[in-house]
């Protein structure tokens, strides 16, 4: 499958990093917009275990890392979300996001950047690393060899194109 290179991409960057509940509320509004191809949540990793120091290896009890439900799909959120990158069908979809975000971010500002934030074609290095069979939708977003696969958010709605990936 070839990803279209002309599809616009955007990045929603709030001035504060979002907790799981706020992320859930925002995603609930975003994922129902028709025309999203791919979506990536970026942010600071919240480790399962304490990674450094004398307490290394002990459980990291936190409410920042949890499984949220987005449009009926469970998403294992293991970052504190700093930005949301999206690849969409056309620029009208980005305008819709802008309207959603204008209404959503009332306590602190945000901005939407338009540009190219995800790879649209695998590079030579990707080919050497992952071979010809690698999923081209995932290259540049996550390590295709990771065991935990991206979440497929499917919207049971006729007007959208089947599903979105996180």
């Amino acid at each position: 499958m070839d990803t279209a290179t002309d599809h616009p991409q955007c990045r929603i960057v709030p001035m504060r990093m979002l907790g799981p509940d706020t992320t859930k509320r925002l995603l609930e509004q975003i994922v129902v917009v028709p025309g999203i191809h791919r979506m990536l949540l970026n942010g600071q990793n919240i480790p399962l275990l304490v990674p450094y120091g004398p307490a290394r290896g002990t459980e990291n009890k936190t409410n920042l890392r949890k499984t949220i439900e987005v449009a009926g799909n469970a998403v294992d959120l293991h970052v504190q979300v700093g930005s949301i990158t999206l690849e969409v069908e056309n620029r009208k979809v980005i305008d819709t996001f802008r309207k959603i975000c204008d209404a959503f971010f009332v306590d602190f500002p945000y901005h939407i950047q338009e540009g190219k934030f995800m790879k649209t074609h695998p590079t030579l290095v990707d080919y050497a690393r992952y071979g010809p069979g690698a999923d081209r939708n995932l290259i540049g977003l996550v390590d295709p060899k990771r065991k935990d696969k991206p979440t497929l958010i499917s919207i049971s709605n006729e007007r959208v194109c089947g599903g979105y990936e996180i």
Partner: protein, 254 residues
């Protein structure tokens, strides 16, 4: 002739705050109270009520050599008792935290004795005798050098200084050692290395952004005082830069 130390250059509020913190004759404003037991819990080096572990016998019990330097430099309480050396580490947000790593080291070197600070861009660790450490921690937490939201004790996994704040205004902490409660109080639920505490330790309410801007010791062009607004500071930095560039670490002006 008496010499009045300048401590640092600058005419801005940031420069003034830096000088206040560095000047040992300036009494820092006390903002909150914290008990001895709370400090012990936060540091996590010993159980509350436990005696201090020692690494050598008390100096009074030792046969000290006849040394003029030892007569000149009086030992700190921790050194007198032979306490072991322990540490505290702070991470300060660049979003107008009232103290910053380099500033912290300067201030501590002027105010405290028997310390060994280690300074990094986003965190600062200071080592000293355990008894002294607890005393110093009291000043560092109770006074205007601390803000519950933007300054935190982090022995390890310190990342957060240069990141955007969380939506509740807290500095990012991957281990979430302190949480902002519904009543507006910040409570530590883990000690500085990330081990859960038996009971939460309250460190007060986060200070408002106006206060933080007025008491910050970091220049920030977006949320605080821009460095370029302080011409004297820029001039000083440019001079240091030129001297070091021309003469390395032995600057000599013509």
């Amino acid at each position: 002739m008496t010499r009045t130390p300048q401590y640092g250059p600058g005419t801005s509020v940031v420069a003034m705050n830096r000088r206040k913190q560095m000047d040992p004759n300036h009494t820092l404003t006390k903002m909150r109270n914290i008990t001895d037991e709370d400090i012990v819990l936060l540091l996590g080096h010993r159980a509350p009520g436990a005696s201090f572990k020692t690494m050598h016998p008390p100096l009074a019990e030792q046969q000290e050599p006849d040394c003029p330097m030892r007569q000149l430099v009086k030992p700190t309480e921790g050194a007198k008792h032979g306490d072991r050396v322990r540490y505290v580490q702070f991470a300060d947000s660049m979003f107008n935290a009232p103290c910053q790593p380099y500033q912290r080291t300067y201030a501590e070197m002027y105010r405290f004795r028997g310390i060994d600070p280690g300074t990094l861009s986003g965190r600062q660790i200071v080592e000293c005798r355990e008894r002294d450490l607890e005393q110093y921690c009291r000043l560092l937490i109770e006074t205007e050098m601390f803000d519950p939201a933007l300054v935190s004790l982090r022995g390890a996994t310190v990342h957060g200084h240069s990141l955007r704040l969380s939506e509740d205004g807290m500095q990012f902490d991957a281990l979430q050692r302190c949480v902002l409660g519904g009543d507006g109080m910040v409570r530590y639920v883990k000690d500085q290395i990330g081990l859960p505490l038996n009971r939460p330790v309250e460190v007060g309410k986060p200070l408002d952004s106006k206060w933080l801007k007025e008491h910050s010791t970091i220049f920030h062009s977006l949320v605080g005082t821009p460095l370029r607004d302080d011409r004297e500071y820029v001039e000083y930095l440019q001079r240091i830069h030129m001297l070091r560039t021309r003469y390395g670490f032995m600057p000599k002006e013509a």
